[in-house]
């Protein structure tokens, strides 16, 4: 299963090894990890809670991966997104793509992240010294998704 939503952390080396499996046709692995920062819009962050929409989340991620497979010449792709309470420094998301050559791996990895950011139903609620606040969507994310 190449799309996972989980509260548990992940080990990127293990996940990449599993993704490649025994496929020695793979020459390139591009990956992206999103992590919790301790600051956002100049305000300190104590942590955050990731909420999602069970059912739609998995469908949405699977659809994005299927689109990436159709659009780019890749061997395989993986998305892991965590939900629940996270602390600064914690890993949030892993997107990894294998392909024969690096161009397609980079493109597909970025494509999946850009679409995930605007289409996958996750919401971040930050804990700050001034109280909790829902993170606002960034216009730059909409623009990144529209470039494709």
């Amino acid at each position: 299963m190449n799309v996972r939503v989980q509260t548990a952390d992940f080990d990127v080396a293990q996940e990449l090894a599993r993704l490649r499996g025994g496929d020695t046709g793979v020459g390139a692995i591009a990956s992206f990890i999103g992590t919790v920062r301790d600051v956002n819009e100049s305000a300190p962050i104590d942590g955050m809670t990731l909420e999602h929409y069970p059912g739609m989340t998995e469908a949405s991620l699977a659809e994005i991966v299927a689109e990436a497979r159709a659009r780019f010449d890749i061997r395989d792709a993986l998305v892991i997104h965590r939900v629940g309470a996270l602390a600064p420094g914690d890993q949030i998301v892993l997107v990894a793509v294998t392909s024969a050559h690096r161009g397609m791996a980079f493109d597909a990895c970025r494509y999946v992240m850009d679409l995930l950011k605007t289409r996958a139903p996750f919401w971040k609620k930050e804990r700050t010294p001034a109280g909790d606040r829902w993170v606002e969507a960034r216009e730059s994310d909409a623009e990144a998704a529209q470039r494709w």
């Binding site: 909420e51 739609m56 949405s60 997104h81 949030i92 998301v93 139903p121 919401w123 969507a137």
Partner: protein
């Protein structure tokens, strides 16, 4: 010509509210019965909610960024809804 009365159809949808809207509405979801003489859409759902006033009218006002899904697929105000559909109402996503 004779006017034939349109048949009254009721459509029951399951509503899901998420993230900031779940908190604003103080509800994770509910059942909503639409009464309409036409094919109902997400727009009819939103209109029914807005008519409640308060947070409903404020959060769903024109110009507010609200997103919709019907049966887990991204939807738009014009998307059709039918009996038994799950209609989700949520703010722009902020994962990753």
């Amino acid at each position: 010509m004779t006017n034939v009365p349109a048949s009254i159809v009721t459509t029951t949808v399951r509503l899901v509210y998420l993230a900031r809207l779940r908190e604003a509405f103080a509800s994770a979801g509910e059942s909503l019965v639409l009464t309409s003489d036409d094919s109902p859409s997400v727009r009819n759902v939103v209109a029914a909610l807005r008519s409640r006033g308060g947070a409903w009218a404020a959060e769903l006002a024109d110009g507010r960024a609200v997103r919709y899904a019907v049966n887990h697929c991204v939807a738009h105000p014009g998307s059709a809804v039918k009996d038994g559909d799950e209609v989700a109402v949520f703010p722009p996503v902020t994962g990753g």
